[in-house]
């Protein structure tokens, strides 16, 4: 497989500022990765089978999930008006009176960020500013979702989103490089995105639905982290397979591996297909079980979702009132 988009990238030059020795160590690390599929699947089943807590525990965990949501709209028909609605919902994700009855109204319960296409970043920034909120705006970039555009335009996309005010950039990896085992090339590419992001947080989308094997997922996770990702993210939400628990286990174990070797904590963001409050609880359980309490906060854990929030709000409504809400009783996004 050729990689024509790498024309501006001189292979003879040492890759960015990384010494060759380090690259060799990285290669060895990546090549030694082993994942036992059935054991991972069993672990996922075990986590899903855990009994979930009820009452105030459930409410508290759900609110935590809310604070980890990257409230997302990624549609062709996004306009300033629905992005505006989304932003306001992100600032007040759960009805004020419901929060008040749990004494959580002044605890800063907002979603973690809003996530939009690059062209809508400016709209989102404007809406949030008008609402006096410092909520970060995240933007997908680099030829989302397929990543099949020239490197030059992908880099430019990142820079423009940052200029428009996005402080978090969700980039997609080049699956061609991953599938053909060109981990070094992928590493170099992500390093360039990292540079283009500047101070913005970079979340690297692995598009696990298109990586084939768990071993590839693990390797891609490692490479993405080595290249400076602040988060690794499962999928774009546009592939056939999105965030599944087994894949997440593989990714978070790579995060743990990376942490043990370097001391750096990298965040995790499952995205795509997460719709119910129960799923959100399982995701939190998975993070708590595999990585520990540090990864239960928005700076290390995000849930990429759009319709999830509505279900969580309904569950919280039920906890507070003992009744199930009709759809119109809860504010729409």
């Amino acid at each position: 497989m050729t990689t024509p988009h790498l024309s501006n990238f001189d292979k003879n030059k040492p890759a960015l500022d990384v010494p060759k020795l380090y690259t060799r160590g990285v290669k060895l690390w990546v090549s030694k990765v082993r994942v036992n599929t059935q054991a991972v699947l069993k672990r996922a089943q075990h986590i899903q089978g855990r009994k979930l807590a009820k009452k105030q525990w459930q409410a508290a965990w759900l609110l935590k999930a809310v604070t980890c949501i990257d409230l997302t709209t990624l549609a062709g028909d996004d306009t300033p008006s629905n992005v505006h609605r989304l932003c306001l919902k992100a600032i007040q994700p759960v009805r004020y009176d419901l929060l008040k009855s749990m004494d959580m109204h002044d605890k800063g319960v907002t979603t973690a960020a809003v996530c939009v296409y690059p062209s809508r970043v400016a709209d989102a920034v404007k809406s949030l500013k008008a609402a006096n909120s410092s909520l970060p705006v995240a933007s997908v970039a680099t030829g989302f979702p397929a990543g099949q555009t020239p490197l030059k335009t992908r880099l430019e996309e990142v820079r423009m989103a940052v200029v428009d005010g996005a402080t978090e950039i969700d980039i997609v990896i080049n699956r061609t490089l991953a599938l053909t085992g060109q981990w070094e090339a992928m590493y170099d590419e992500i390093c360039q995105f990292r540079e283009a992001c500047g101070d913005a947080h970079m979340k690297t989308i692995l598009a696990i639905g298109e990586l084939g094997t768990f071993t590839n997922v693990y390797k891609a996770s490692l490479v993405a982290m080595m290249a400076g990702s602040d988060f690794i993210k499962t999928s774009t939400g546009k592939e056939a397979v999105n965030a599944t628990y087994p894949v997440a286990i593989v990714m978070v174990r790579a995060i743990r591996d990376y942490f043990l070797c370097t001391g750096h904590k990298v965040g995790f963001k499952p995205a795509g297909g997460i719709r119910t409050a129960k799923e959100a609880l399982v995701w939190l359980t998975l993070m708590k079980e595999e990585l520990g309490d540090d990864w239960l906060h928005p700076h290390l854990f995000r849930l990429g979702a759009s319709s999830l929030l509505a279900d969580i709000e309904r569950q919280i409504y039920h906890y507070v009132t003992g009744q199930y809400a009709a759809f119109h009783e809860l504010p729409m996004a």
Partner: protein, 798 residues
């Protein structure tokens, strides 16, 4: 708990702790209430609450009373067993189809009451999911259906007692009850304390499924001594035990000499290696450790063995994963003292501890603890204390991993983690354990046979292979090999110590002086270590026919040493090579048939013609066993879990055989053939009365193409040699034809380490119903099944 309910949403939002998960036990409570919280004995298809009995109360994990059970007394036992005899008649006279139907129906009854069963289990602290019980019932109902078509010429034993210790799980108990029923036996369950309530409930459900009343009864008591009481009843045909080793030994000793075979599966408390190779998915392996090693109630004691090159990775992951773990409740203050002592000892030897938090200074709460840097000699490995402790050892190479893992008295199971298929299979083959789990742990399924190797059991459970413990060859029902008796009061330390009368040279004519034979040890003919001989009398008992060596303890020691050296190589030989060797033995016998026939004639008084026929039959028998070498095989039974599972027959190792008096030559050749065809080495003690044909056979053995030491023949006092065999720990099995006293001695003595016993109490002209000249297929099958143990290997895949 009061504090936790007062926690606000915000508190939890900050701490992100797990909340309490309450499990309802309403159905179980209702059932218990229906029985007024005091469960009676179950016999004749109903609960019986005899008055004036002691009771035993059971508490749940929070310490509140669940229910009480009755402690049965002798009168209850005899009433129960005699009704079980009637139950056996009713149940065994049904057709296979009808029995299968009942077991299947039980499956659907269990489906209806699954909630109640799992809640009762939960309350009794013996978790067991109804789905695993359902699988047992479905699997064995098909065996009940197929018994007469696939296991022809075998019949049920009668009343089987299934005994469990207090800590035995319900599953381990039912793993024996269901196949026993499926084969047409009636069963008396003597459950342990924790398995009693669910066993009673299941017995009740079995009645609902249409099992003839009294085909299944449950007797509860205060400890395992009730099991021995039940075994004393002469109507019990077989006793099988599941649970911890200690109670198993107590049961064996208490039932010695009763003339009832007892088998033991000490499934609780065995030490099992958990091996992580450098080629493993380390994260998944560590997760496996987390799941199984620190449970509050664990059936086996794991020892973690990690390849040195990945030791740091494993330890750092364990540290991270354990960080969030909470303390585990120990059973008692006494346990705490044991744990403290073990830790102190380990730390003194330089072990470092890996704990999520420091242990509270006292009390029964204790944090999960990994003891890094222990060695096989560490007391916490040799004598694992209770509690959530996990010793960790490191190894350098693959072969070292195997020797580390095998260096243990236990042989129950092992878990190995590697992505390298060849390494996994090689390791699985070399481990002397009953179950090997590749990249997994603690899996089980009734379709896979597994025998406890070494000190971990004397019977095979699971699969078709596991059914034979509940069956007997049809013809022998008239005279059982081990007739019921009452135990003799005997001094075990004196058994076999009587000195044989010294041979006094009488200085007769050297031409007619009786010949002096040599015995056969380590491939060489030799005198006994003591140097003395005993006289062999002629059939009429008037003249001395010959002198044979008076072997003893040291001769047995030499023979076993020689045997264990060559046995592994013999087992690894290709099947066809083994068959070749047996054929060559048959050929050698052919060449010497005259000599042998003459010695049979001289020894037993059988006519020369008859004796020649016996030799001919022996030649045929050897050829038979040669042909069997490559026909007896394991397989890959289909398991419900995704992946593969293999079952492999393996040799026992060194087998001690005390040969029958009847047909001294034919019986020896038959048993010898069975043992070595299956890959064993043998130490044989020829009949004390008729040793000459066996000694004449030595010349055939010498010229045969068998490894030196594979077959050993030692003559002398039977009792003395039996005692010597019983006291050699290398032997895994003893096949015994002798008197009642010897049977009792073996049953009493062969408990530590456990030996598989095949006992025959021979009376005049009868060898436990076995007609050596006309061996039925079921007898032959019984023989080779006695000569192998089964290993199951799990290779789960996605």
């Amino acid at each position: 708990m009061a504090g936790s309910t007062a926690k606000t949403v915000h508190d939890i939002f900050q701490s992100m702790e797990y909340g309490p998960t309450s499990s309802s036990a309403a159905t179980a409570q209702a059932w218990l209430d229906h029985h007024s919280r005091s469960l009676g004995l179950f016999m004749d298809g109903k609960f019986v609450c005899p008055a004036d009995r002691q009771t035993c109360s059971l508490v749940d994990s929070k310490g509140s009373a669940v229910c009480s059970t009755v402690c049965a007394v002798d009168h209850d036992v005899s009433k129960c067993v005699s009704s079980a005899v009637i139950g056996f008649k009713a149940w065994s006279s049904l057709s296979c189809f009808e029995r299968a139907k009942v077991l299947l129906k039980m499956g659907s009854v269990l489906g209806q009451h699954g909630q109640c069963v799992s809640e009762v289990c939960e309350l009794s602290k013996t978790s067991c999911s109804p789905s695993t019980l359902l699988r047992l019932l479905q699997y064995y109902s098909s065996w009940a259906q197929l018994r007469d078509s696939l296991i022809t010429d075998w019949s049920p034993l009668g009343v089987v007692a299934v005994v469990a210790s207090d800590d035995c799980s319900l599953y381990s108990l039912m793993q024996k009850v269901v196949p026993a029923l499926a084969m047409g036996n009636s069963v008396v369950i003597v459950p342990g304390r924790s398995s009693a309530p669910p066993a009673l409930l299941l017995a009740q459900l079995f009645m609902e499924a249409g099992l003839p009343s009294s085909a299944l009864s449950v007797l509860t008591g205060s400890d395992v001594s009730l099991g021995a009481k039940v075994a004393q009843n002469p109507n019990i045909s077989y006793v099988t035990y599941s649970g911890n080793k200690q109670d198993g030994v107590t049961l064996c000793k208490a039932t010695a000499g009763l003339g009832v075979p007892v088998s033991v599966s000490p499934c609780v408390g065995a030490t099992c290696p958990f091996i992580i190779f450098e080629s493993a998915d380390i994260d998944s392996a560590v997760e496996g450790v987390m799941e199984t090693a620190f449970k509050a109630k664990k059936e086996v004691q794991w020892v973690l063995c990690v390849q040195e090159s990945v030791l740091d990775g494993v330890v750092s992951r364990l540290r991270l994963r354990m960080a969030a773990m909470k303390c585990v409740a120990l059973a008692s203050e006494g346990d705490r003292a044991q744990v403290d002592a073990a830790l102190q000892e380990a730390q003194k030897q330089g072990a470092t501890l890996l704990q999520p938090c420091a242990a509270p200074p006292s009390g029964t709460q204790f944090p999960p603890t990994v003891l890094c840097g222990t060695a096989p000699s560490s007391p916490c490995v040799v004598n694992p204390p209770p509690g959530p402790l996990l010793p960790l050892m490191s190894f350098r190479s693959n072969t070292e991993a195997v020797s580390l893992a095998n260096h243990s008295p236990h042989g129950q199971a092992a878990s190995i983690w590697t992505e390298d298929l060849t390494l996994a299979l090689e390791t699985a083959k070399s481990l002397s354990v009953g179950s090997v789990w590749v990249n997994s742990h603690s899996m089980s399924d009734p379709c896979l046979p597994a025998s406890g190797h070494k000190d971990s059991g004397t019977c095979t459970d699971g699969g078709q292979e596991g059914l034979y413990q509940f069956l007997q060859p049809s013809s022998s029902s008239s005279s059982p090999p081990l007739p019921r008796s009452s135990s003799i009061s005997m001094d075990y330390s004196n058994f076999g110590t009587a000195t044989s009368p010294a041979v006094i040279p009488n200085g007769s004519d050297p031409a007619s002086a009786p010949k002096s034979y040599l015995q056969f040890v380590g491939g060489k003919s030799c005198k006994s270590e003591s140097g003395s001989s005993v006289a062999v009398q002629s059939p009429e008992g008037t003249t001395v026919l010959a002198y044979c060596p008076d072997g003893g303890r040291k001769d047995v020691r030499n023979a076993v040493e020689a045997a264990i050296k060559v046995q592994p190589g013999w087992m690894k030989k290709s099947m066809s090579a083994r068959a070749q060797s047996l054929h060559s033995l048959a050929k050698g016998l052919e060449a010497k048939r005259r000599d042998i026939a003459a010695s049979i004639n001289a020894q037993t008084g059988l006519s020369l013609e008859e004796a020649d026929k016996e030799v001919e039959l022996s030649i045929a028998r050897l050829s038979d066993w040669a042909a069997c070498c490559d026909k007896i095989q394991g397989g890959a039974p289909p398991v419900p879990q995704s992946g593969f599972a293999l079952s492999l027959p393996e040799a026992l190792g060194v087998v001690g055989v005390v040969l029958p008096d009847n047909r001294p030559f034919l019986s020896m050749v038959t048993l010898l053939g069975a043992a070595i065809a299956m890959g064993n080495a043998v130490v044989m003690v020829p009949s004390q009365k008729h040793p000459l044909p066996a000694l004449a056979f030595i010349q055939v053995l010498q010229s045969a193409d068998l490894p030196a030491g594979l077959v050993n023949i030692i003559t002398g006092s039977r009792d003395q040699l039996t005692a010597a065999l019983a006291n050699h720990s290398v032997l895994k099995a003893i096949w015994y034809w002798g008197n009642a006293e010897g049977c009792q001695y073996l049953q009493y003595t062969c408990t530590s380490p456990l030996k598989t016993l095949w006992l025959h109490c021979q009376k005049e002209e009868k060898d436990g119903g076995m007609d050596w000249t006309q061996l039925r297929p079921s007898h032959k099958e019984e023989m080779w099944r006695k000569a192998v143990q089964w290993k199951s290997i799990w290779i789960p895949t996605a």
